[in-house]
Assembly symmetry: C2
Homo-oligomer: 284 residues x 2
Amino acid sequence: MEIVSSPDRMRALTREFRAQGERIGFVPTMGALHEGHLSLINRARRVATRVVVSIFVNPAQFGPQEDYKSYPRNPERDAERARLAGAHVLYSPTFRDVYPPGYRTYVAVERFGTTLEGASRPGHFRGVATVVAKLLGRVAPHVVFLGQKDAQQAVLLKKMIEDLEMDVEIEICPTVREEDGLAMSSRNVYLDADERRAAPVVYRALRRAETAVTREGERQAERVLDLLREVLALEQSVSLDYAAVVDARTLEPLPRLRGEVLVAIAVCIGSTRLIDNVILKVEE
Amino acid sequence: MEIVSSPDRMRALTREFRAQGERIGFVPTMGALHEGHLSLINRARRVATRVVVSIFVNPAQFGPQEDYKSYPRNPERDAERARLAGAHVLYSPTFRDVYPPGYRTYVAVERFGTTLEGASRPGHFRGVATVVAKLLGRVAPHVVFLGQKDAQQAVLLKKMIEDLEMDVEIEICPTVREEDGLAMSSRNVYLDADERRAAPVVYRALRRAETAVTREGERQAERVLDLLREVLALEQSVSLDYAAVVDARTLEPLPRLRGEVLVAIAVCIGSTRLIDNVILKVEE
């Protein structure tokens, strides 16, 4: 595995791969690699012949009060994990490589970027879309792999790629969970022991919603959300930021469930903010 | 020359060219091709082995009171001119190809997009940046050719390409002028005979500014602009929208001229709005 920090070297590698007819799979990350990231790298290895993993903690997607400074960073362990998972290139540009002085260009996906997480974190998705557009420009992969855990990010980036006519495929891979159901997240390390014990309630609440829809035939979004909130209320240390039932492709609210439905949730446990979701296929 | 309207066909062609090791030159236009456009196609033929010309009148870059509907359109004559100039592909997508229902993604270049033309035409450059990002995504050229006449557009798109790390070179080609100095523009057809006779004053005013700087050693922007306005005042039918002296790379105002300087002007002649500019290299 080659570790690359220079954007020029990254471009040279990608041109070399393409000239050799290789198929480039790309896994963009903010580092702090966990099983979720490794599953993306594994999937990329099956679909592509060259796997590029990027690590860049992107300041443009953090709000001023958020955890940009404290976000977990461990470049040596990340490099070792990426190598063991079979990545061929680890691209980790510096802040100045990505946002040199006088940087001015931003990509925004309207509506997709201002609902749900975007409503709670103004500017977050402008930062995400911008940095991913840049990474796609630099790495020029054939396929990019994203995790379902960040459902809105995945839908929004799919929309950006389609709207900007970028020549790259996108594959969304399933959320990887701990045995008790907690979705893998780099932010889980923020949880203390009590918070960690409480955290699986998030997925239990989503499962309650799923059961209501798939087994009990519930189709009213408000009723589904009530059931979800009832489960969540069992853990007093967990406070709900939002829970929503939306169309999985457009992210528009669905008062009555139909088609492919995203049930998305964001909570705070102590000072840690976590998100999770399930996708339901609803037959009429 | 192949005329392509389908985005899928355009992508297939570009992939074929790249697989064959061809070098793709790209000339994006809004049609109404004149000598300025043809000079870009000629230049592209010398630098590239395959030349793609696009024609798309982009509604996103017109304000609600502007001339989107009346903008000159003549697809048959354009196709003939592009063919004679040696283009290999003429790509002319439809409105629905470029902005399908539910379209949401926009690219903005801050500051570069809100000064000069951007101040007079709010949203204009967001439309320009977005459509060019899309066309670059679709055509995936090695080099894109733009005219110096639209100086701010050229600088802004260069900035976008650099900021978004797009793998494409950009070449800015000299403004082509009528014998009396009027810069070639698709909008010149709007001028009636009297207006057409008055129009060359725009370039004469720019030349006065140039003489002041290069021959007379003037370095104060306000003095240069006064001289320019004096010339312009000789034609009563020509009203100034703005004249500005800015850094040619950053578009920031330069109270005192130094380095590479852009002198840019926008006027109205009757109901026709025209722009023009000169670049001056100022030695200290």
